[in-house]
């Protein structure tokens, strides 16, 4: 009965076009060499799938501009500062990627991180063991996230409103916590372990060991994937491409470690100190090594990245973000997924708050609106869509680096009474720019189908 031919005799060019579109919209490695990869990449960019291109491009551009404008920007000491400045924003943005993947927003993430800083500092101040203090603070984050998720998924109040309300309320909570210790509005974080996160560095050998471990792990995962696909006769990434990517990773991992392994203290002369009433010449103590916060960020990037890209739960997050009705019909518990992303977002905010407190002492204005804006900006600038369904954990890292460069570069470049004002304006502008790129590339991708 099916004697009617389906008319599948298209012109060759049309078939080629379809194959090119398929390659550009592919989520798995395609066959071919460098040329094919480059061609497909160009097609993707042209179709509006920019990925982290704007962020990486912007990063390079800004580094060049700031380096030319001021010599101090391109110094080792400043490089170390950049890392520790970017760390809390990165951690906050990593949690926000989960929330943004569902097309939701958590305006309270910044103040939640303030709560994390305050609770940890208060617990430790009152003599609690730092491990217990961190666990309890994370539990507070869980409760906050669950509350937001419940209000959004079950009560169905838009997340914008729920988190705006919490943004205000949690500011009050932070104030309360800080005042409970010091009416002055400042609590020191009295834990040498937690302070070490942002203020101490790994031994040099450990830094290098971590770098080589990361590189070996990256290669092992790549080769395992390749083997898994090859053994099933599926197209796998060509070795040349894998090699190039590994080379890029090597540069990306080892060069910063190399830079951080130099002594980056400004004053390399011996100093004179007052020891027991006598003036003693103390030999120069060198400031070198990878800050301890880096392994924390790296481990969380790996764990959360694994969850998003290789587990059922991660797949369900993308599905709910892409089309929640389709996800529901496929039997996914959409409400549970929705609640869970807010829980992850809030708990990451707490982690970010602890790191923030480790850098400075905790004050009552901790984690205000600016921190949040920076974190949302970091995720979006890195390539995570505000419309849901598109984004990666590494977006947060790249975006946060870019914002840290902006903040760091401008703080020195623009001096005077209005320097803070200009920073606010520029940061706001960058966030708007990133959101605009997101909206435009989405429109373009919608019309080309990639």
């Amino acid at each position: 009965m099916s004697d009617t031919d389906t008319g599948t005799t298209p012109v060759i060019t049309e078939e080629q076009q379809l194959a090119e579109l398929a390659a550009a919209a592919s989520t798995a490695p395609i066959e071919g060499g460098l040329r094919e990869y480059w061609h497909t990449y160009l097609q993707r960019v042209r179709a509006g799938d920019l990925g982290s291109l704007p962020a990486v491009g912007g990063l390079v551009l800004l580094v060049i501009i700031f380096s030319l404008a001021q010599s101090s920007f391109w110094s080792l000491g400043n490089f170390g500062n950049l890392i520790t400045q970017a760390a809390p924003i990165t951690l906050l943005a990593m949690g926000l990627v989960f929330v943004l993947l569902l097309g939701e927003i958590d305006l309270a993430a910044g103040t939640t991180s303030g709560v994390g800083a305050a609770t940890t500092a208060v617990f430790v101040y009152n003599g609690m063991n730092w491990v217990l203090a961190v666990i309890l603070s994370l539990a507070v984050g869980f409760v906050i996230g669950y509350f937001v998720g419940f209000m959004r998924a079950i009560v169905r109040v838009p997340s914008f409103v729920v988190t705006l309300a919490l943004f205000l309320a949690l500011q009050g909570v932070v104030l309360w916590l800080v005042n409970s210790v010091h009416a002055s509005g400042n609590i020191p974080l009295k834990s040498s372990v937690l302070n070490a996160l942002e203020q101490s560095n790994m031994p040099l050998w450990l830094g290098w060991f971590m770098g080589i471990l990361l590189l070996a792990g990256y290669l092992a995962v790549k080769l395992y994937d390749r083997h898994a696909r090859r053994s099933r006769d599926l197209p796998a990434e060509p070795l040349l491409i894998t090699g190039l990517k590994a080379g890029a990773m090597a540069v990306f991992i080892l060069v910063p470690i190399g830079l951080l392994s130099q002594d980056r203290s400004l004053n390399k002369n011996p100093t004179v100190q007052n020891v027991n009433g006598k003036l003693v010449q103390v030999p120069h103590k060198s400031l070198e090594g990878v800050p301890w916060v880096v392994p924390l960020v790296v481990v969380l990037v790996i764990v959360l990245g694994f969850v998003l890209s290789r587990t059922r739960y991660g797949r369900h997050i993308y599905a709910v973000g892409g089309n929640d009705e389709a996800a529901r019909r496929a039997g996914i518990r959409v409400e549970a997924v929705r609640i869970s992303v807010f829980v992850i977002g809030s708990m990451m905010a707490i982690v970010s708050g602890i790191v923030l407190a480790s850098r400075l002492s905790v004050n009552s204005a901790e984690g205000g609106g600016n921190t949040l804006l920076l974190a949302v900006g970091a995720a979006v600038i890195g390539g995570t869509s505000l419309f849901g369904g598109k984004g990666k954990i590494t977006d947060a890292v790249i975006g946060a680096m870019l914002l840290a460069v902006i903040a760091n570069g401008m703080a020195d470049l623009i001096q005077g009474d209005n320097s803070a004002a200009i920073q606010f304006i520029v940061t706001g502008g960058v966030l708007l720019l990133a959101a605009t790129v997101d909206a435009l590339s989405r429109r373009r991708a919608g019309s080309t189908g990639v």
Binding site: M1, S2, T4, T6, G7, T8, L18, A19, L21, A22, A23, A24, A25, S26, T27, A28, A228, R229, S231, R232, L234, R310, T311, R312, R315, H316, Y318, A319, G321, G322, N323, E325, A326, A327, R329, A330, G331, I332, G389, K390, A445, G446, G449, V450
Partner: protein, 258 residues
């Protein structure tokens, strides 16, 4: 085997308040056959499908699946029996690829890790078994697919999940000529692979091309269930518009007769 219908509904009644939408409806679907369900707007096609799919409870009548009387309370129950309904809005995730969509909610895992390789292989096998050549890569995002290709993915999903009865709601309504031909071809192959297919369509050309049996609903009653080979298009159109055609159809609206 073809004598015992996999779906056998007898004397189905369904009312919404005072409106009697389905009146003593008998409906069968058989393995290896395409049963077309046709009727004018408001004849009760959608209601019948929603009763089969568990979205609406039936007021009275018997619902037998695979020879056993069953009670279907929800779409989940229907899914558990092996019934798949492909609605017009296809419910695919644009941001996921073909394999990810076909396995959505039933991902295969090795430990806690997704087993992407084996999912990709079996998705390919299913598409090959249906002789689908229109999808260039099973790893392309659904956003890059045309309407016909999307329909293909949605239909192929039911084969992958080992459904026995697939109900297609207007699968060609939004498609061009070439794509319609592809989807109809696929419908035919589903039946040839041993599934029972119910095709709801307004397009008489589609129906005459692929159906084995045609069931005509007229104002909530079954006007007739006929073999495709025994009728021509004019007769079917008459059945749809007036409930009878020559000897077949309703006798002055007094009940079903074959």
């Amino acid at each position: 085997m073809a004598d015992t219908p996999i779906l056998r509904m007898r004397g189905i009644n369904k009312s919404f308040g005072p409106v009697h939408v389905l009146k003593d409806v008998d409906f069968d679907a058989r393995v290896g056959e395409v049963t077309a369900l046709v009727g004018d707007n408001g004849a009760g096609k959608s209601t019948l499908v929603k009763c089969i799919g568990g979205s609406y409870p039936i007021d009275s009548g018997t619902y037998e699946y695979d020879g056993h009387p069953v009670v279907v309370h929800s779409p989940r129950d229907a899914g558990a029996l092996g019934i798949e309904i492909v609605y017009q809005d296809l419910a695919l995730c644009d941001n996921l690829d073909v394999v990810q969509n076909m396995y959505l909610g039933r991902e295969q895992v090795k430990g806690i890790m997704l087993d992407e390789g084996s999912m990709e292989v079996s998705a390919k096998e299913v598409l090959e078994s249906l002789r689908v050549r229109t999808i260039a890569s099973v790893r392309q995002r659904v956003s890059s697919l045309s309407g016909g290709q999307r329909q293909t993915v949605a239909i192929a999903k039911s084969v992958l999940w080992n459904r026995q009865l697939v109900i297609l709601d207007e699968p060609t309504a939004a498609l061009g000529v070439a794509q319609t031909a592809q989807v109809l071809d696929l419908v035919r192959r589903l039946a040839d692979q041993g599934l029972a297919v119910v095709l709801i369509s307004h397009n008489m050309n589609d129906v005459m091309q692929v159906a084995d049996k045609i069931t005509v609903l007229y104002l909530g009653q079954i006007a007739a269930t006929v073999n495709r080979a025994d009728v021509n298009q004019t007769q079917v159109v008459e059945l749809i518009t007036s409930g009878r055609s020559g000897d077949i159809g309703l006798k002055n609206g007094a009940g079903a007769a074959a």
